[in-house]
């Protein structure tokens, strides 16, 4: 190790770093390693992976740029950060697509070796931006990463191309140095990952070290930064993504219901990871089934539910559209079923790898006829665990399908998660009757008067043989019935059953002024972090603004109407053109305003904050005066 220079270390509360490069440059991996290291150091973290739909877009092209942003802090953060403090770009295309997000004075690290005439042309640069003085507004560090890696790997038996692939570890090493992170966690990971390929392991370790020492020894860097541990509630933490949390929540629900989990899916971005995660856990008795199509996936799940399993299917918007008819059947059959919709940009194929919240109306209304469906929505990656568990609680208690609306941002984003203790999770009571509930034949549609749920009698139970189906049934007996009055009764009963869930869910909480005030920012799903942060900031600035976040989309919490009416104005930010706003206006005759963004990217805090400013909220003091008067 070379002698240590005296370098100032600056303390920061949080740093946002974004790694961007070609999709073949390993930026997702680099970002995840940086995240893991920061999480284990005790920072709060929030991540935003952003990758193209094409697995391998042409190298060096704008379409092929892949990025990973991580926000790490010494306080409680809720979003991956509006803008990067530091941007690492591995080629001109990455610079081109990401530079506009970097604030003036931001740190910009560029692999200057990749700024070749060909790459510059592909990115649409007439001249090399690293050389033409156009980046003066930033703290630009040009690093010949490709050459340095090649030097560091002189001894390595790897081919030139293989060596080139190690350059992301150089970038990671340099970032570790600059932001005062230890190498251990990544060293351990490399050893494990390349167990069977020691040459590759060795090369990556060398590249990582070379990046770290480059920062240490060259004179280019006059300062490094550190972010101390976050003050978060004591406990044991791990990093978790929304899809991982969803899978674990489903698994725990089955455990607590004393049965097994059946998961059927069809490959679709960004939901496939739920299937992947559960497929690893056969030893817990999980049965995963990769079906021939989306319809088959939900069909299999419904079949398994008929047999008594806790059944789930997961997909994204286009797949949910295909499942629509079968969801209607599950509503008719009144069987418990969980459907995860990991939303993405649409319509049609849309933006498969980008996030959006535009399936809300599809979830609530997207089937033929009157087909009420319980719909819930987690607000953070970690909450996907709780909502998956909650979905099965509702599904089994009310004998109804339940849809969970996640999205690409929650699914792939990561945050620290306080590890749950199994023994702290409530039991999910599941009863399969063994005796008939009538004088003679079993009555499959005789309901629990409290929940309106029908009994979950399963095949294999003697004496309870019965037949279910998609044709309208007579109340109580479940026999086929075309009677007009019976149909109306059944339609209303199915609706009443789902509406009744409202009495069994938590009331909507208000952050800010609990008894009302001038402006309420109402959100749902993954916009939580940006809304909560913007509202917090606005209140600190003395504005009479409160926030409330819906996790139950159908039915709504019972107090939603009162909450809305206790505020002068309501603003609903959504990553769609106003779907929750439409529902709220229809249900409560509240003239809610919208803030709508459909760019495939989550809201930034400042976008919501700016909208709040534009609405000129009353000052908090004035609001209080008004309340007293």
């Amino acid at each position: 190790m070379s002698e240590t220079r005296r370098i100032a270390v600056e303390d920061l509360d949080n740093i946002v770093i974004r790694f961007a490069g070609d999709s073949g440059d390993g930026m997702q991996l680099t970002g995840m390693q940086f995240t893991d290291t920061s999480a284990i150091l005790g920072n709060d973290i929030s991540t935003l992976p952003d990758f193209p739909a094409e697995i391998r877009a042409p190298a060096g092209s704008l379409a092929g740029v892949s990025g990973f942003q991580v926000n790490f802090s010494n306080f409680d953060i809720r979003t991956p950060g509006d803008a990067p403090t530091a941007l690492v770009v591995m080629n001109p295309a990455a610079l081109k697509t990401n530079l506009s997000d970097l604030d003036t004075g931001g740190i910009l690290i560029a692999n200057e070796d990749a700024f070749t005439p060909d790459n510059l042309r592909q990115a649409g640069y007439a001249a090399n931006p690293l050389e033409d003085g156009g980046l003066k507004a930033y703290r630009l560090y040009k690093v010949p990463i490709t050459k340095l890696v090649d030097n560091a790997l002189k001894e390595s038996p790897l081919t030139f191309r293989q060596k080139e692939r190690c350059k992301n570890f150089f970038a990671l090493g340099l970032a570790y140095w600059m932001f005062s992170r230890p190498l251990e966690s990544t060293l351990k990971w490399i050893k494990e990952k390349f167990k069977k390929n020691p040459d590759m392991a060795d090369a990556n370790v060398r590249a990582l070290n070379a990046g770290f020492y480059y920062g240490e020894t060259t004179e280019s860097f006059e300062v490094r930064y550190q972010v101390r541990k976050a003050k978060i509630a004591p406990g044991t933490y791990r990093k978790i993504t929304g899809n991982e949390a969803m899978a674990l929540g489903l698994l725990c629900a089955a455990e607590k219901a004393g049965t097994h989990l059946f998961m059927a899916g069809y490959p679709i971005t960004p939901a496939s990871d739920i299937l992947h995660e559960l497929a690893k856990h056969r030893k817990f008795g999980v049965k995963t089934f990769q079906a021939e199509d989306e319809i088959s996936a939900i069909g299999a799940a419904i079949g398994a539910a008929f047999g008594g399993a806790l059944a789930v299917t997961a997909s994204s918007g286009p797949g949910i559209a295909l499942k629509g008819e079968a969801i209607g059947l599950a509503i008719m059959l009144e069987l418990p079923l969980v459907i995860c919709d990991v939303q993405r940009g649409g319509p049609s194929t849309g933006l498969p790898t980008k996030t959006e919240q535009a399936d809300l109306l599809q979830a609530i209304c997207g089937r033929n006829s009157e087909s009420p469906l319980a719909v819930i929505a987690p607000a953070t990656p970690g909450e996907c665990f709780d909502m998956a568990f909650e979905a099965f609680r509702i599904a089994t208690k009310y004998m109804t399908p339940v849809m969970i609306l996640s999205d690409g941002y929650l699914a792939n984003g990561a945050e620290p998660w306080a590890v749950r203790k199994l023994e702290d999770l409530p039991e999910i009571p599941v009863v399969h009757p063994t005796r008939t509930n009538g004088d003679g034949a079993f009555l499959p549609y005789k309901r629990d008067p409290r929940t309106l749920a029908r009994p979950w009698a399963i095949p294999g139970t003697p004496g309870l043989e019965h037949r279910i189906g998609g044709i309208e049934k007579a109340d109580v007996t479940g026999n086929v019935s075309y009677d007009p009055d019976n149909h109306e009764h059944m339609v209303r009963t199915r609706q009443a059953k789902v509406d009744g869930i409202a009495a069994d869910i938590p009331a909507l909480e208000i952050f800010g002024s609990p008894s009302g005030g001038d402006l309420l920012v109402l959100g749902w799903g993954s916009t939580y972090g940006a809304i909560a942060s913007a509202v917090e900031q606005a209140r600190q600035d003395g504005m009479d603004v409160s926030a409330a976040h819906l996790r139950y989309m159908n039915p709504f919490p019972e107090n939603l109407g009162d909450v809305l009416k206790s505020f002068g104005r309501v603003l609903i930010p959504e990553m769609n053109l106003g779907q929750l706003r439409m529902l709220v206006r229809a249900r409560f005759l509240v003239d809610a305003m919208g803030l709508n963004k459909v760019k495939g990217q989550p809201f930034k805090i400042k976008e919501i904050f700016q909208k709040i400013l534009d609405l000129r909220p009353k000052s908090l003091a004035a609001g209080r005066r008004a309340a007293v008067a």
Binding site: Y237, L248, H260, G308, P459, E465, G470
Partner: protein
């Protein structure tokens, strides 16, 4: 879950008749199939509660309502999907799928292919009447070319699909054909199908008296059947005809109908082997249907053994448990990389 009932008391056909009024048109071939199936079920020695009949949509799909077991009348074409999920969740159950040519080969064609290739243990009865009955008479994927129906007033321009050939292409492990007017044969085939471990596929020629009457007349009529149908028997030569004077001879890979004196079949008349691993033989048989001068084969085309999908899954679970040690969900929740924040 699976009930550990002792050997169920001997059941009779009556036990499998549900109380509901049967609502098929008078004279519909479905009645004979229902009655035959109700007669076969008690022979299986399976308790009623462990049998589930699953159907899609169409005339045939009313079937579950009439059988006094667990039943599931689902949505159009999707019966195999529900059956697959149910069998995976509950390998202890005996599952029957009832479908038709529209339900199983048109809207649900994809699911049919995939349940067959996966070899999920269940019995599929495909009622083929070569027409859409419930929707009042449109041509179906098995309707003959140039068929005039409400949806094809100038004649259909669709080439029909051959269900047996399709099942073979999908690698089904049990494939057979029978017909509504021969309940004895049907009973024998249904019993074999139910006893086969794996997906059993049975095409049943079924007459729709209202919209496609006499579609199978040449083989359904007792008097013309012997000359127009050939009953496949494992280990028996391909001989048929009223007096057993006809046979199918192989000329290379080309079958040829021949006549002989009824005593010793001439050279080149092959012996039927339903257990042949290579599906080519069964495929060759399945192609005789539409050829001028050839009889329509009835009986078992193919019966081979392969592990079932649910057994393979159960095995994976057992092996994962053995290899990875006892379940510890808490370890999984905790994950590998954790950090502790202390006050």
């Amino acid at each position: 879950m699976a009930t550990e009932t002792a050997t169920p008391p001997a059941l009779t056909k009556k036990d499998f008749i549900a109380g509901q009024d049967v609502r098929w048109c008078p004279g519909c071939g479905d009645y004979a199939i229902l009655s035959t199936a109700q007669g076969v079920l008690p022979k299986l020695g399976i308790a009623r509660e462990n049998i589930v009949v699953i159907s899609g949509i169409g005339c045939s799909s009313r079937f579950p309502y009439y059988v006094n077991t667990y039943g599931f009348h689902s949505i159009h074409g999707r019966a195999p999907t529900f059956a697959t999920g149910l069998k995976l969740a509950r390998p202890d159950l005996s599952i029957w799928i009832v479908t038709g040519d529209g339900d199983g080969l048109s809207i649900g064609g994809n699911h049919l292919i995939h349940i067959l290739r996966r070899n999920v243990d269940c019995t599929i009865l495909l009622f083929n009447n070569r027409i859409y009955g419930l929707t009042k008479g449109q041509c179906s994927p098995t309707s003959e070319m140039n068929k005039k129906t409400k949806s094809t007033p100038l004649g259909s321009i669709d080439y029909p699909v051959n269900p047996i050939s399709l099942a073979l292409a999908a690698e089904a492990t049990f494939i057979a054909r029978t017909l509504d007017t021969d309940p004895k044969h049907m009973g024998k085939i249904l019993l074999q199908a139910a006893q086969h471990k794996g997906t059993s596929f049975v095409e049943i020629f079924q007459n729709c008296i209202i919209f496609n009457d006499k579609a199978f007349e040449s083989v359904s009529d007792k008097t013309t059947r012997p000359d127009n149908a050939i009953y496949l028997e494992h280990g028996q030569p391909l001989v048929y005809g009223k007096d057993g004077h006809r046979a199918i001879r192989l000329n290379g890979w080309k079958p040829e109908p021949v006549t002989f004196d009824g005593a010793v079949p001439p050279d080149g008349v092959p012996v039927h082997d339903e257990t042949a691993e290579d599906p080519s033989w069964a495929y060759l048989l399945s192609r005789m249907d539409h050829q001028e001068g050839f009889p329509v084969p009835m009986g078992v085309f193919r019966r081979v053994h392969r592990d079932t999908y649910e057994d393979l899954m159960t095995r994976q679970i057992d092996e994962a448990r053995k290899k990875l040690g006892p379940d510890d969900l808490q370890n999984l929740l905790t994950g590998e990389d954790t950090w502790t924040v202390s006050q």
